[in-house]
């Protein structure tokens, strides 16, 4: 896709509009605790486009990382070599996260529910799981202690479930003021960005509501990809299409990553 193409005729994939939409939410200068995978892609895209002074912090220890390619693991050497400083993992969680210095926690998830709680632990009963997922990682404390949280994941009935088999990390718990009553300091998930649209919590009930739909997607499609009766905002917006510059930057980043790693930058901890 040539960068000078007319934006209105641009071709983009569902994953690309998800990534670009997620990256747009990160404002320049934000201090962002980044999960690996989709959040890391979106956060680095923001850094390479509209938010050059975003501060990216990874739980392995790099603060102010500026990787040249997307990290494949959360402890890639490039993160350390490009960071302003590298501290130990206890310091990351104790001083920087618990210390209240993180503006945005940017997380992925295996499943979310209608109140933006996150499951990354098990499908099925905990003691006899149908599927054993990797587990919590840094998410429970990122979800509770970052000033706000963005969640990015693809939307499907298996991923967007009415009731989670296991709450790994708290969103709005049972909704309403449940999160605040539990004594959780951060505001919680303010946006869930998917390949179909953007969901935001209702100001009072905290139920996730479709407030922006990606161009070419129907409301019926989004409802069918959601495991509960999805509420649609009365003033539903259409997501702005990715501009040519952002798309070019994303594709360039992924091409560089593929050349370096042999894959486009999936990711995991470890």
């Amino acid at each position: 896709m040539p960068a000078e193409a007319n934006a209105e005729t641009l071709d983009f994939t569902a994953t690309e509009i998800m990534t670009v939409a997620a990256s747009r939410l990160l404002k320049d200068g934000t201090v962002c605790f980044v999960g690996i995978g989709l959040p890391s892609t979106a956060a680095n895209l923001a850094r390479l486009t509209h938010a050059p002074d975003v501060v990216l912090i990874y739980e392995s220890g790099p603060i102010g990382a500026k990787p040249t390619v997307l990290p494949l693991s959360i402890g890639d050497g490039d993160l350390a070599l490009t960071a302003d400083t590298v501290v130990g993992t206890p310091e990351i969680f104790r001083y920087w996260l618990q210390g209240g210095r993180i503006d945005v926690g940017f997380l992925g998830a295996a499943q979310v529910d209608r109140f933006a709680n996150i499951n990354t632990t098990v499908i099925g009963p905990y003691d006899t799981p149908k599927v054993r997922l990797p587990g919590a990682g840094g998410a429970p404390e990122i979800a509770s202690q970052a000033k706000e949280v963005f969640i990015v994941l693809k939307q499907s009935p298996k991923a967007f479930v009415a009731k989670l088999p296991f709450v790994t990390s708290a969103g709005y718990l049972d909704g309403g003021d449940a999160r605040a009553r539990a004594g959780i300091p951060g505001a919680g998930p303010t946006a869930v960005i998917t390949d179909l649209g953007i969901l935001t919590p209702d100001p009072v009930t905290k139920e996730l509501t479709l407030t922006s739909i990606h161009p070419g997607v129907t409301v019926e499609q989004v409802k069918a990809a959601t495991g509960w009766e999805l509420k649609i905002a009365p003033d539903l917006k259409t997501t702005e299409i990715p501009d040519a510059g952002a798309l070019a930057a994303l594709r360039d980043l992924q091409a560089r990553t593929a050349a370096a790693h042999g894959q486009a930058g999936g990711g995991g901890e470890g």
Partner: protein, 286 residues
């Protein structure tokens, strides 16, 4: 003072059946050579501790070395599941594996508490999570000054911690740099420790605030160049992402896993032998 000794001797004298063992390294500097040596020497009933059990613990669990795992994230980074870990949890093969599951913040604080000689770690954590419902070692205490509810979990106090580092000097002082994870805390929390290093040098040339573990705080230092493979040692080697991908089909079935471990680990004498056989088998499948 640390003994500078071959890895085989360090594992034989310092890692015992039934021990609580932490092999740490956050993606970087994962002590794979030491993990293989523990498998070769057939250790049993270990309680394994690690924030991010990945391939190294998949191998130890699949070979029946572990009775229990204390962890906060178990997966093959960038690839997917740990099939041997999942088989142990889901099917009890090769034996039942007890799990004690935390968050990263919990584990990191538990190592700090262990290194600080405290009985438990205190943190703002786990609020709203179901983890305290399935892990009785996550409890809540009241702040004696404000009454605030805080999470408490037992310190991690390993019998032995094993890490890999870049270099040691001839007296056994160790320098680590790059992504440090919880290595320093894990060593200082443990009764005994083994550090494998890329090389032994005359002078560490460490600046004053570098992460240096003094020889007198360590039990054994073992030169094992490339001993973190397929993880990496910054300044010495790159992470072999291909191997992490190749591990997925190897570990998927019990039979291919056992055959691979027999050929590459049990039938080799040491890590250099493992690397030679691995190079041959990678050529066969290329």
């Amino acid at each position: 003072m640390a003994n500078i000794t071959p890895l085989r001797e360090a594992v034989a004298s310092l890692v015992h059946d039934g021990d609580t063992v932490a092999l740490e390294g956050f993606t970087h500097l994962i002590p794979h050579a030491a993990g293989h040596e523990i498998v070769r020497q057939g250790r049993r009933d270990l309680t394994l501790v690690r924030m991010t059990p990945d391939l190294i613990y998949d191998q130890l669990i699949g070979m029946g070395c572990a009775a229990k795992l204390i962890f906060s994230w178990g997966g093959n980074p960038g690839v997917g599941s740990l099939h041997r870990f999942r088989d142990a949890v889901e099917q009890g093969w090769p034996q039942r594996l007890a799990i004690e599951e935390h968050s990263h913040a919990g584990m990191a604080n538990a190592y700090v508490a262990g290194a600080s000689n405290l009985p438990f770690a205190l943190l703002r954590g786990y609020t709203g999570s179901d983890l305290p419902k399935v892990n009785p070692n996550i409890r809540f205490v009241e702040c004696p000054f404000t009454g605030e509810k805080l999470a408490a979990i037992p310190s991690v106090r390993p019998d032995v911690t094993v890490i890999h580092a870049q270099k040691a000097d001839r007296r056994g002082n160790v320098l680590i740099w790059g992504i440090l994870g919880v290595q320093k805390e894990a060593v200082l929390a443990a009764k005994r420790s083994i550090v494998t290093v890329e090389e032994i040098v005359d002078d560490l040339e460490a600046p004053p605030n570098a992460c240096v573990l003094p020889s007198w705080a360590l039990s054994a230092v073992c030169p094992v160049p490339g001993g973190a493979y397929p993880s990496y040692a910054q300044g010495y080697s790159e992470r072999d992402n291909r191997f992490y991908k190749a591990w997925d089909p190897i570990a998927r079935s019990r039979e291919t896993f056992q055959a691979w471990m027999q050929r590459h680990v049990l039938d080799t004498d040491d890590f250099a032998g493992f690397r030679r056989v691995l190079a041959e088998s990678m050529k066969e499948t290329a």
